[in-house]
Amino acid sequence: MERLIFYILALTIILFSVMTVTSRNILRAAIYLLFVLLATAGIYFLLNYNFLAAVQLTVYSGGVVVLIVFAVLLTAKIDHKLEPVNKVKSALTALLAIIGLGAILWAVFGYNFTGNGMAEGAYDVKAIGSSLLSYGQYGYVLPFEVISILLLAAMVGAIMIAKRYKND
């Protein structure tokens, strides 16, 4: 059963990934990307990583894709099509992608994965929360804070850029 669902999800991801990069309509590409992200969330659910799956849904599907779509709505017209990529370029890109895929597969199959002894099953949100904010060993408080400041800086920067153009 789980195997079947995995294959369905995997196939969806592969199919829509290809469609995302080949579609000439930018909003459709964004929607294909949404399907890829949704299927990824499905795989997380399958692995019982519920928290990660919900984060995937909120941040990527509900956040990033919405922002992309929003930006497209503000800028693109409905009959707007992206220029087709010339053949040499697409062949080169395909070649690079295949090399990359080969490298990843080689690395994955070449590494001998061993279980880390942690229990299978749902992870407690509490544990995630406390390790995110703990400053002991394996605590993530420093990266957490650094990323917060980075995001804040990005936000302030965005506001400043928007403001300056408005005042001119």
Binding site: L27, I31, L34, F51, L57, G62, V66, F70, V72
Partner: protein, 361 residues
């Protein structure tokens, strides 16, 4: 003391019965089909009921009678309307992006169906009780806005586009407030699992136990929830006096009905989450140590309690819609970013402090 009616044995027995005849693979499949059919039937029925109630409520506010011709007291009016919508022509305008135009209603409906799966209707009557239930519901319903966005864009109509942009700005902003107000209860009950949150209210609902901050959070949740479902006074995405019908101007027939369906499902979800988190879900109403009174309350089945509370919240939201004028888009965003969000953040800190000190009942 009488225990609340537990439906777990019922579902367990169905599971055991199926397992005795079928392999585990097919058992799971059959159970999925059963749950899917039940949910769809429930949603279809409850939406029809909600539309009928909405019409009657509107009629009550507007000194009218409301539907009263089709069926007894007009009960079949919504069914008749649904059949009418079902048989209408599908019109897709020539310059529309047909794929996305047809996809949009499905996205919005699927998003709301995903969310309804985690709603606890009664003790043991819940399609999935995952450990991050509340987070999951907000995550699933956050996809719905995409349906509005691409639906408004793909119709190639300027009213739709304006409506979609308004809706996008609105839903994305108000989601923050909705989640923050729910977080107050997560802090108090210490869990995201809906069954645990309900369990934590067995000695009193959070709205009574949590003092003023939780009450404020409840009000915030109602405002943000109304805004998230695009209902009046926050119905800027539709705004029929400005944008004719906003993002679904170009839709007709069953595709329009799906937007309609999703609106009411979302309304139900918002009300159900509010009832579960703040008003104790299926927990009966108890008063301190009035044993006899509490005993009587226990005799009312949990399902009834749940729907009673959901109905209460829905009634409040309908009351807003039929009395208030609509806000303007800049006022809407100012309300969220300058008022609701700061109040919510401060409120969350206050609640966290209360939870730390254990100052709740």
């Amino acid at each position: 003391m009488k225990e609340p009616l537990d439906l777990t044995p019922l579902t367990q027995s169905i599971h055991d019965y199926l397992l005795s005849y079928l392999s585990p693979f097919w058992t799971t499949t059959v159970e999925w089909v059963i749950i899917g059919v039940l949910l769809i039937a429930f949603v279809a029925l409850s939406v029809m009921g909600l539309v009928y109630i909405e019409r009657k409520v509107a009629a009550f506010f507007q000194l009218r009678l409301g539907p009263n011709r089709v069926g007894k007291w007009g009960l079949l009016q919504t069914l008749a309307d649904f059949l009418k919508l079902l048989m209408k022509e599908h019109i897709t305008s020539k310059n529309a992006d047909k794929f996305l135009f047809n996809l949009a209603p499905f996205i919005i409906v699927i998003a709301s169906f995903l969310a309804i799966g985690a709603i606890p209707f009664a003790l043991g009557l819940q399609a999935m009780d995952i450990n991050i239930g509340l987070f999951y519901i907000t995550a699933a319903s956050s996809i719905g806005v995409l349906g509005i966005l691409i639906g408004g864009w793909a119709g190639n109509n300027k009213y739709s586009l304006i409506g979609a942009l308004r809706s996008g700005a609105q839903v994305v902003s108000y989601e923050i407030s909705a989640v923050l107000s729910l977080l107050t209860i997560v802090v108090l009950s210490g869990s995201l699992q809906l069954s645990t949150i309900i369990e934590s209210q067995s000695d009193g609902w959070w709205i009574f136990k949590g003092h003023l901050p939780v009450f404020i959070a409840f009000i915030m949740f109602l405002i943000a929830g109304t805004a998230e479902t695009n209902r009046g006074p926050f119905d800027l995405a539709e705004a029929e006096s400005e944008l004719t019908a906003g993002f679904h101007t170009e839709y007709s027939g069953i595709k329009f009905a799906m937007f309609f369906l999703a609106e009411y499902v979302n309304l139900f979800i918002i009300a159900a989450v509010g009832a579960t988190v703040f008003l104790g879900g299926w927990m009966p109403f108890h008063i301190g140590n009035w044993a006899a009174f509490n005993e009587v309350m226990n005799y009312i089945p949990p399902v009834i309690w749940f729907f009673f509370k959901v109905g209460f919240v829905i009634g409040l939201i309908m009351w807003f819609k039929w009395t208030f004028p609509r806000l303007r888009i800049d006022q809407l965003l100012v309300l969220e970013w300058k008022y609701l969000l700061p109040i919510n953040l401060v409120n969350l800190i206050v609640v966290a402090f209360i939870a730390m000190m254990g100052w709740y009942f």
